[in-house]
Structures are given as structure tokens and as C-alpha cells.
């Protein structure tokens, strides 16, 4: 194997090991069922692999992983929501020793965020992970001030939906 291919392979393996939880969480929040989750995750990983050569280290690697994961999920989530299939997804994600109440609350979180449109959902997921506003703006393609105002509106929507 050539040196640069070996380096790429090593970088890919390190990257996926380090950010596997992040990738899984984003795919989980966009997936409608287990098949969709597996498809999205596969697509994200392929895009990471193919994009690694062009990643020029100008941004943080974590920012780039967010970008690839969110872009993939935003653009390629097609299937209509089937909340009954979310049970299958949850059963595969959650540990068996989780309390019923805990699982109920996690499902409630999923269903609440799922009601946002796909771009607002990305914004909220980045905010939940405490990504700095500058990085959110760079990932979404908006200014820092715009991030703040859009986040405020998205949070208001979430609060309204949670209380309704």
C-alpha cells in the first residue's frame, strides 16, 4: 500500500473511532427507522472517507465531521416519518438496563426535536453539543449573529411544542 493511502487509512480509522458517538447521534436524530439509520451512517462514513483527501486542516476535524454528517443527513433523509418504526430504532439503540422512565424521556426528546425542519434540527443539535456559534455559522452557512437569532427562534419553537 502506498504511503499516502496508508496515512489516509490510519486517519480514517482514528477519525471514526474518535467521532463514532457524534456520527451515531446525528444519524439517530435524522433516521426514521433502523434501516434508515444504518443507511445514513454508512453514507456519512463513505463521505468522510472520500472527503478526507480534500480536508485541508483549515478547520477543526470535529467541525468537519459535523459538516459531513449533517450535510449527509439533511440532504439524503427521504423517508417519511413512521413513529411506530422509531420503537425498533430505540430498541436497538438503548441499553437493556435503562429504566422505562429514562427510555420514555429519551424518546420524548427525539420526537420533540424531530418536529423541527431538517435545517433547524441541525442548528439545535449543534447547540446541544455546545458547538461555538462561529463554528455553527460555518457549518450552516450563516453569520454568527444569524446563528444567535435563528437559535432563539428554534428554541422558542421547541418550548412551544414541549408545552403544547
Amino acid at each position: 500500500m502506498k504511503v499516502n493511502e496508508a496515512q489516509k487509512r490510519e486517519q480514517f480509522e482514528q477519525c471514526t473511532a474518535q467521532y463514532s458517538t457524534l456520527i451515531n447521534k446525528i444519524c439517530y436524530m435524522y433516521a426514521s427507522d433502523m434501516d434508515n439509520f444504518n443507511d445514513l451512517r454508512q453514507e456519512v462514513l463513505i463521505n468522510v472517507w472520500q472527503g478526507l483527501e480534500g480536508f485541508e486542516n483549515r478547520a477543526k476535524l470535529s467541525t468537519w465531521i459535523y459538516r459531513v454528517s449533517l450535510n449527509t443527513c439533511i440532504s439524503f433523509t427521504n423517508k417519511e416519518r413512521k413513529y411506530s418504526s422509531h420503537d425498533e430504532l430505540s430498541d436497538n439503540i438503548y441499553s437493556y438496563d435503562d429504566s422505562q422512565e429514562h427510555m420514555r424521556q429519551l424518546k420524548e426528546m427525539y420526537q420533540l426535536i424531530d418536529r423541527l425542519n431538517r435545517l433547524d434540527k441541525a442548528l439545535i443539535l449543534l447547540w446541544l453539543d455546545e458547538v461555538p456559534y462561529e463554528e455553527i455559522g460555518s457549518i450552516m452557512g450563516i453569520s454568527r449573529n444569524n446563528v444567535a437569532s435563528r437559535l432563539r427562534r428554534a428554541k422558542e419553537k421547541l418550548t412551544l411544542m414541549a408545552n403544547s
Partner: protein
């Protein structure tokens, strides 16, 4: 649920989702080995193969007309040959266009909004490309098989009906997905 509570629950999801981490390792190995391809790569490959083989349809059709024998007048014969060139030519150009159009989707460098716009653009082009080709194909089939004997006319009608049904289903599928993506983008732009 309060927003702070939401943040805590989001962090709690980390522990649950860890159970999926080992499956990523397996996927990683398969991707490095080239055993899995993305749907876009598969589509690109199909378009390239189609672009290579579609031009061979022209000599095949001309040979078929000579072999079967045309039972129509000169004006219809001219129309038939024109439609043959148009159908094969449009299909070839469409496939080549899609290969280059797919390069416009840049998941790893685009912003989220740009990526959505690129996907919508490509899907619209794909939808219309297939739809126009289908319309030309149906007209071509109708002219072709009314220019030949009854056995081929029957085959043409059946082919036309099946092609139309498949085409309508594809059109409606793409329309639905495109509308879904466009409404997300519209809602986002209205808030700016």
C-alpha cells in the same frame, strides 16, 4: 421539557449510543476495502455505463428497421428516423450531463444550506431528464411500431404502457422528495 433538561438528555444519549460504536468499526473496514459504495457513486457509474452503450442503440435500431421492414410511407419513415436520433441522442446527452452534474454535490465542503440546494438542483435535473426522455420514448415507440407490422405494434403498446407507469411512479417519487427538501429550504429562508 425545559431546554436545560433537553441538553442533559442529549448528553445522556452518548452512553446509549456507545453500543453502536463497534458496528462503525466493521463498516470502516468494509469502506476501506472498497466493499461498499455510496448511492451517488453507484448512480454515477450507471450513468457512465449508459453513456458508453447508448450510442450503440442507433445502429441497432437502423438494422432492426431493415430486418423487420417498414410498412409506412416516406414522411413517416423520415419522422421515425428523426425520432430515433432524438431519443438516442437525448438519452446519451442526459447520461453524460448527470455524470458532471453529480460533481456539483460536494458534501464535505459545502455548508448545510448549500448542500441542500445542490441536492435539490440535481434531483430536479434528474426528474426532468427522465421525464422528457420518457415522453420522447413513448412518441418514438408509437411511431416506430405503427411503422411496422401488427405484432410489433402490440409490443410497442405494451412497452409504452409499462414505460409510462414506471415513469409516472418515478416522477411522483422525485416530486415528493424534492418538495420535501424545498419546503425545508423555503421555511429556513423565510426566517432570515
Amino acid at each position: 421539557m425545559e431546554l436545560d433538561e433537553l441538553k442533559n438528555k442529549w448528553k445522556a444519549l452518548d452512553e446509549h449510543i456507545k453500543s453502536q460504536d463497534n458496528k462503525i468499526q466493521h463498516l470502516t473496514d468494509q469502506i476501506i476495502a472498497g466493499k461498499v459504495k455510496s448511492p451517488l457513486d453507484t448512480l454515477r457509474r450507471h450513468c457512465i455505463i449508459a453513456a458508453i452503450f447508448v450510442p450503440f442503440m442507433l445502429p441497432f435500431f437502423f438494422w432492426a428497421y431493415d430486418f423487420v421492414g417498414l410498412t409506412c410511407g416516406e414522411s413517416q419513415k423520415l419522422l421515425l428516423y428523426t425520432l430515433t436520433w432524438l431519443f438516442v441522442g437525448f438519452t446519451f446527452v442526459r447520461e453524460v450531463y448527470f455524470v458532471f452534474d453529480l460533481k456539483g454535490i460536494n458534501i464535505s465542503k459545502a455548508t448545510a444550506v448549500e448542500s441542500l440546494q445542490q441536492t435539490i438542483r440535481f434531483r430536479n435535473h434528474y426528474k426532468w431528464g427522465v421525464t422528457i426522455d420518457l415522453i420522447i420514448g413513448i412518441v418514438f415507440l408509437a411511431v416506430a411500431f405503427t411503422s411496422m407490422n401488427q405484432m410489433f405494434m402490440f409490443g410497442g403498446i405494451v412497452g409504452g404502457i409499462i414505460g409510462s407507469l414506471v415513469g409516472i411512479k418515478m416522477y411522483r417519487f422525485y416530486n415528493r422528495t424534492i418538495n420535501n427538501l424545498e419546503s425545508a429550504l423555503r421555511e429556513w429562508n423565510e426566517e432570515s
